[in-house]
């Protein structure tokens, strides 16, 4: 009650009023009865309690206002801090988002790296295999070529030097032609001797024919004689029979002689003809042989004249072939070096892959085990799509174990042409 009154009066006056009220109540209690006194005391207590409640409320409000007044600068600070925190949170979200995107990009690059490593490895294996094949083929070709060149050189050498060379052969041919010429001359002589002998034989045959002609004449005469004898024998009658027989026999003998003589004549004639023909043929043959020999001599002469410069050229080609052989050896050396540079490139590519992988693994550690909510499967598919859009050959698809596009498979519309060929 005191506090209640003190809101409206000064403290001294409040005390005075309270004192007066207490005295009044006491007097009333004494004057009237205890019930009223109790009621009044209760009223006083209620007033007191209400007063205390109001006081505390008032104090709280005052304290609050004091607090607020005292802490207004802090409030501003708090506001600022709150703003800063919100801002930082926002930044954090942005950075988190950026890290997430970085991680996604990192994983995407990691998948790309895997694929390119695979492509690189496959292509290196293929290159190595093809290089080995080329090496084998080139060495085989050059060795074969060198052997052939050596054989040709040997042949040329044999053709141009020594007894069995073309020179030698031509010389021997010429010698042989000369010898044959001599033989031909001798044959001519022999032919002349034969002709002369044949002529003698012919003469003898002619003589034999004359003799047989004489024999024929004799035979004719004998026949006539035989006939006359037969006539005389017939005239003689019986005494002439023996004579007639003898005449008949003589006549027969004459006839036989005639036949033999005619036969001999025919034989002589045919012998003569045969000899004439034979002689003619022999002469003709010998003439041919002579002509052939002359022609052969001329041809050998012409051939040797045309061959000799060619033989000289062949001899020169040995020198050129030696130069070519040296050149081939140098080219082989150069080829051997070049193939090794390909291998060097392969090694460097391998080192690049190893270095990239190591750096990648280091970077991967920075991200730790977190996955930043990335769907790796769909990311892989996306990366493969991006990577394969650059592919132009079926080997690239095969290197990644992917199905080759139908459009890339080998086909041809002409069975005579091998390989992937289309004619439009």
């Amino acid at each position: 009650m005191g506090d209640f009154l003190s809101d409206f009066t000064s403290p001294k006056l409040t005390k005075l009023i309270l004192g007066l009220i207490k005295i009044l109540l006491l007097v009333m209690a004494i004057l009237f009865n205890k019930m009223i006194f109790l009621v009044c005391v209760s009223l006083l207590l209620i007033l007191e309690i209400f007063s205390l409640f109001m006081k505390s409320e008032k104090r709280i409000i005052e304290e609050k206002e004091e607090f607020i007044e005292d802490h207004t600068p802090y409030k501003e600070e708090c506001s600022n801090l709150k703003r800063d925190i919100l801002s930082l949170q926002h930044e954090n979200d942005k950075q988190r988002d950026m890290i997430s995107r970085l991680y996604r990009s990192f994983k995407s690059s990691e998948i790309s790296l895997e694929k390119t490593e695979l492509l690189s490895r496959t292509s290196m294996v293929t290159v190595q295999s093809k290089v080995n094949k080329i090496t084998d083929d080139i060495f085989s070709m050059i060795t074969g070529s060198k052997n052939m060149t050596d054989d040709i050189n040997e042949l040329i050498l044999s053709l141009t030097h020594g007894d069995e060379s073309l020179h030698g052969v031509i010389n021997r041919l010429n010698i042989n032609i000369d010898e044959i010429d001599n033989i031909s001359t001798k044959i001519g002589e022999v032919n002349r001797v034969i002709t002369s002998d044949t002529s003698s034989v012919t003469d003898s045959l002619l003589e034999i024919r004359n003799f047989t002609n004489n024999i024929l004449d004799l035979a004719d005469q004998t026949s006539v004689l035989a006939i006359n004898a037969s006539i005389e024998a017939a005239r003689s009658g019986i005494y002439g029979k023996g004579f007639a027989v003898i005449a008949g026999e003589v006549g027969k003998l004459a006839d036989n002689s005639k036949v033999f003589a005619e036969t001999i004549n025919k034989m002589v004639k045919s012998a003569y003809q045969a000899m004439e023909e034979g002689l003619e043929k022999q002469n003709s043959l010998l003439k041919n042989v002579e002509d052939m020999l002359i022609r052969s001599q001329q041809e050998v002469h012409i051939a040797s004249n045309s061959l000799l410069p060619k033989i000289e050229l062949l001899a020169e080609s040995i020198n050129k072939s030696s130069i070519t052989s040296s050149s081939m050896t140098e080219q082989l050396n150069s080829f051997t070096s070049s193939m090794q540079f390909l291998d060097l490139v392969r090694q460097i590519a391998e080192h690049i892959a190893i270095i990239s992988r190591e750096r990648w693994e280091e970077t991967s550690k920075e991200f730790g085990e977190k996955t930043y909510d990335i769907d790796l499967d769909s990311l892989k598919e996306e990366v493969i799509r991006e990577v394969t859009k650059h592919f132009t050959t079926k080997e690239e698809w095969e290197a990644l174990g992917l199905t080759v596009k139908e459009s890339m498979s080998n086909k041809t519309n002409n069975k005579d042409l091998k390989g992937d060929v289309l004619l439009f």
Partner: protein, 115 residues
């Protein structure tokens, strides 16, 4: 014997010497080479940088075996530092060829080192 992890190099060595009548045993590293050792081998052409067992380790093991101790060994490698060459010489090798090699050079060295 040609010891190199590159099949290209082994193939080149084989083709280079075949025309002169040599036959070549091939190994892709030192370990495989040790497995394939044969007393008929006349000379070893060895790379330095190989997986599993490098050239130095291989030669070191080779020299421990009496049958191969005196066989000529030539390193054929991309390494060219003096330090490496000294190390090889100390190991007892007979020659050092820096890649890329020329066929003629290889043949001459083989002729010089093989009895």
């Amino acid at each position: 014997m040609a010891v190199d992890d590159s099949s290209t190099i082994r193939n080149l060595i084989k083709n280079s010497v075949a025309s002169e009548g040599w036959s070549v045993l091939e190994a892709e590293d030192g370990l495989k080479a040790l497995d394939l050792l044969d007393p008929s081998i006349d000379i070893f052409i060895v790379d330095v940088n190989m997986p599993n067992m490098n050239g130095f380790e291989f030669v070191s093991e080779l020299k421990k075996q009496i049958s191969y101790k005196n066989k000529p060994v030539v390193f054929l490698t991309t390494e060219s530092s003096d330090e490496m060459k000294s190390k090889g010489k100390a190991l007892g090798i007979n020659g050092w060829i820096v890649k890329p090699f020329e066929r003629e050079t290889l043949l001459k060295i083989i002729d010089m080192l093989v009895d």
